[in-house]
């Protein structure tokens, strides 16, 4: 008869718990007996763990979560695959253990091992798909590319014909190629055109050419996707596509690419105001001048919100609220736009970094550095209840006392010891964000809802005395 002694891999039988990579017993030494229901024989025991071990297990999982998340999806999928294979490899042993403990037939136990392993397998492609869906950004040298399985080389500003607009001003301008797209790079329009072609090919090959798009309530025909995308090759070129966009929006109808080549052109109007040639733009004229009702609860500009949640928090009118953790965290943490980068673009540029200090810095006023025993270019630990970042400091006379500044979003592979500018910046939610659908108050993250706290974060800073990476 088979028993524990007949396991082909005896190491699979253990009376310990795995916490933080170590097999542990309960701190008290207490164990729960495990018996064979058929014979009453004591097979072994499992640790009778308490609060302390539980806390340790949760903390270990929390510690592992960051490094685990930072692995690429492909990497995680590969690990899961290895796990799946090992489970199947030991199927007989695992099934025997289950049968000895539970008394069910061996065949059923084997089925259960196989079924259990199938969950691991199911998560592997899911992981890859998830990464492809959300992280496939069209830039090669970018932190996000490291978390993607497919990275498409995208032409840069200076390599393509494209339109360029922003909410921040009233002009449309264009990008024009100074050089051809480098290596295999393609313009956004060409990338999407080729994607449409590939989707069409795959849809035809799989016989799945029709599908109903729930979001837009629209039956799509994938068999002709490329022709639809380019309107039967009418918009094959980047120029034709850009001109089509100009022609199709009332705000830009009548503007030509040639005009944009000459100089930026003004929108004809936007949703708040008309625009007149030679007259500076003033927003909200439709409401302020033409007396169209404002899109608010009362149809007027209003600061007063008569909602019970606002009443209960005493914020029916705007009120000043002092910082909540100013005593513990005396420094304001400022994360301005970068001096030599556009968000994270160009932030890792060797030519620029080599002029400076080779990595991100936090700028510190002389008095705050001195008070903490910090010298220029020292590593400092900047922290609050939310997290910490370990970064070099730069002492700067122009920084205000009580404030430190770090240009936002360094690439995650740049020369920091830990964390990033966002590590200490919580995204806070207040109950007033959640009143939802009350007049003009519609929940929308970053607009009316939780948003960044770039100017509203407090930290403390101290000299970092841990290990410093030594480059090879």
């Amino acid at each position: 008869m088979q028993n524990i002694a007949t396991l082909s891999d005896p190491s699979l039988f253990t009376d310990r718990c795995l916490v933080g990579g170590k097999w542990i017993a309960a701190e008290t030494g207490a164990a729960i007996e495990v018996t064979n229901p058929a014979t009453g024989e004591v097979l072994g025991g499992v640790p009778n763990c308490g609060r302390k071990e539980t806390d340790e297990a949760i903390a270990a999982a929390a510690r592992a979560f960051g490094p685990w998340s930072r692995r690429t999806a492909a990497d995680r999928a590969a690990l899961l695959e290895r796990w799946h294979d090992l489970v199947l490899h030991s199927m007989d042993d695992l099934a025997l253990l289950m049968t000895l403990e539970q008394g069910k037939p061996l065949g059923e136990s084997r089925g259960e091992v196989s079924y259990g392993a199938s969950f691991i397998k199911w998560f592997m492609p899911t992981l890859v798909q998830a990464a492809s869906r959300s992280d496939a950004r069209f830039a090669v040298k970018h932190s996000q590319a490291l978390y993607s399985d497919i990275v498409l080389p995208s032409a840069h500003w200076y390599e393509k014909t494209d339109l360029n607009v922003t909410e921040e001003h009233t002009f449309i301008n264009m990008t024009e190629p100074a050089i051809a797209p480098q290596w295999e790079s393609k313009t956004d329009w060409q990338i999407f055109k080729l994607l449409a072609r590939k989707v069409q090919e795959a849809a035809i090959a799989k016989g799945h050419t029709k599908f109903f798009d729930e979001q837009f309530k629209w039956s799509r025909d994938l068999a002709t996707l490329e022709a639809q995308y380019t309107d039967n090759a009418k918009f094959d070129s980047d120029e034709a596509a850009a001109q089509f966009i100009l022609d199709s929006a009332p705000q830009s109808k009548g503007i030509t690419l040639d005009q944009l080549r000459e100089k930026p052109q003004r929108f004809k109007g936007n949703w708040t105001s008309p625009m007149k040639e030679g007259v500076p733009y003033t927003p909200f004229q439709f409401f302020a001048v033409n007396k169209r009702p404002w899109p608010t609860l009362t149809g007027r500009q209003q600061y007063y919100i008569d909602h019970e949640v606002f009443f209960s928090m005493g914020v029916e009118l705007p009120v000043y609220k002092p910082p909540i953790d100013a005593d513990k965290y005396p420094l304001r943490f400022n994360t301005p736009h970068s001096r030599h980068a556009i968000h994270s673009t160009f932030k890792d540029n060797e030519l620029m970094l080599r002029l400076q200090r080779g990595g991100p810095m936090v700028e510190v006023p002389p008095a705050e550095a001195e008070a903490r025993g910090l010298k220029d270019n020292d590593w400092a630990e900047i922290f609050n209840d939310h997290g910490r970042v370990i970064v070099r400091i730069k002492i700067k006379a122009g920084e205000q006392i009580g404030r430190i500044s770090m240009y936002h979003t360094p690439e995650l592979y740049m020369d920091l010891i830990e964390g990033s500018s966002q590590s200490v910046c919580p995204i806070r939610i207040t109950p007033t964000h959640l009143v939802g659908n009350y007049g003009h108050l519609l929940f929308r993250p970053n607009y009316y809802g939780p948003g960044g706290s770039q100017r509203d974060t407090r930290v403390e800073m101290r000299k970092y005395i841990g290990a410093v990476p030594i480059p090879l």
């Binding site: 090669v140 040298k141 590319a145 490291l146 030599h340 890792d348 060797e350 030519l351 620029m352 970094l353 080599r354 002029l355 400076q356 200090r357 080779g358 990595g359 006023p365 002389p366 730069k394 002492i395 700067k396 006379a397 122009g398 920084e399 205000q400 006392i401 995650l412 592979y413 740049m414 020369d415 920091l416 990476p469 030594i470 480059p471 090879l472």
Partner: protein, 334 residues
């Protein structure tokens, strides 16, 4: 040095940098680096750089390196060390981004100095701290210490435009020019053992195209042209309005790169934050950099700006504003 090398050129190219407009973006630095100093032995070398004043500059503490002239006597200065230039560091992006290395792509070796190491650090206590950016390059001097110092007569003044150029066939890499230049703008290439320095983008000048540092200037702070060309903005700024001054004229080399001194910066604030009538940048600092006459120039520029702001005509402001880029780089082909 032979007589021909010190012959007065027929014409003289000059550069003007308006320190009221330079935003320290380093576009000129990179434009120059990409154009000229990407070759072996040049990685530490920046013919063009922008540094913060007050500050250590590039090479570090170049103001005290020596060289130039004391009255008639050529001075032998120091040869900057690689550490003073800043040891160029590398990043293993290839390993991190394409080969699955998990470590961060840290600069190697660990940076200890760089051309713009002390960017914006400046001096003074907030809110009365101050700094300004100074773009620097070879001054293409009319009394070039490098030319006189070269034992091999390898540096010559171009007759057509007065640019000072190293003849690499004659250069034997003695480094005398590196020691003689008080601005730290002559370099010794350790790989080819030749002197290297700014060539004023003469291949562009010969085609009537502005040098890269001028053409690329995002802040429109740079002017270039022939000093005797009455149409050129450098003529107007240097000769007519006399608002563009050489930097450290006491070094005695007669530079042909001129600077419009920072005249339009903020005024000292009192305890309540109200601005007074003294500029944050101390006049003593400007006088050391641009000579005793700088105070009058600053006052003149401020007066002209006030006129322009009041809707009155100001030819000086029109030149400094440079509404058309082409007017800031008038370079008729010879």
């Amino acid at each position: 040095m032979t007589a021909s090398q010190m012959t007065t050129p027929k014409r003289q190219i000059a550069f003007v940098a308006d320190l009221n407009k330079c935003i320290g973006c380093q576009t000129c630095t990179v434009a120059c680096k990409r154009s000229w100093t990407g070759h072996a032995g040049q990685d530490f070398m920046y013919w063009r750089n922008v540094e913060t004043a007050p500050g250590q500059g590039y090479p570090r503490n170049w103001r005290a390196k020596g060289g130039g002239y004391v009255e008639a006597d050529l001075q032998k200065g120091k040869r900057p060390t690689l550490a003073e230039y800043g040891v160029p560091f590398e990043f293993d992006y290839d390993g991190r981004l394409f080969q699955g290395k998990h470590e961060r792509a840290r600069p190697e070796p660990t940076p200890r100095g760089a051309p713009n190491w002390d960017e914006e650090q400046g001096a003074g206590n907030y809110p009365n701290n101050y700094f300004f950016f100074t773009p620097r390059m070879c001054n293409h001097c009319s009394r070039p210490a490098c030319v006189e110092a070269c034992p091999n007569d390898a540096i010559y003044r171009r007759p057509a435009d007065g640019l000072n150029i190293i003849n690499k066939d004659k250069c034997k890499g003695t480094g005398s020019c590196v020691e003689a230049c008080p601005y730290g703008k002559s370099f010794l290439n350790p790989k080819e053992l030749k002197g290297n320095k700014c060539i004023g983008c003469y291949p562009r000048i010969e085609k009537g195209v502005a040098p890269a540092c001028v053409a690329q200037c995002a802040g429109r702070a740079m002017h270039v042209g022939y000093l005797d060309d009455t149409n050129s903005s450098v003529h107007k700024l240097v000769i007519v309005h006399k608002v563009a001054l050489p930097m450290f004229p006491q070094f005695g080399t007669k530079p042909n790169v001129y600077y419009v001194p920072p005249a339009l910066g903020p005024m000292m604030e009192d305890a309540k934050g109200a601005p007074g009538d003294q500029p944050k940048i101390p006049m003593t600092m400007l006088e050391e950099m641009f000579g005793k006459g700088v105070g009058d120039v600053v006052a003149f520029i401020r007066g002209e700006r006030a006129r322009k702001a009041a809707g009155q005509p100001s030819p000086l402001m029109d030149v400094m504003i440079g509404a058309r880029s082409a007017d800031m780089m008038v370079l008729p082909q010879a």
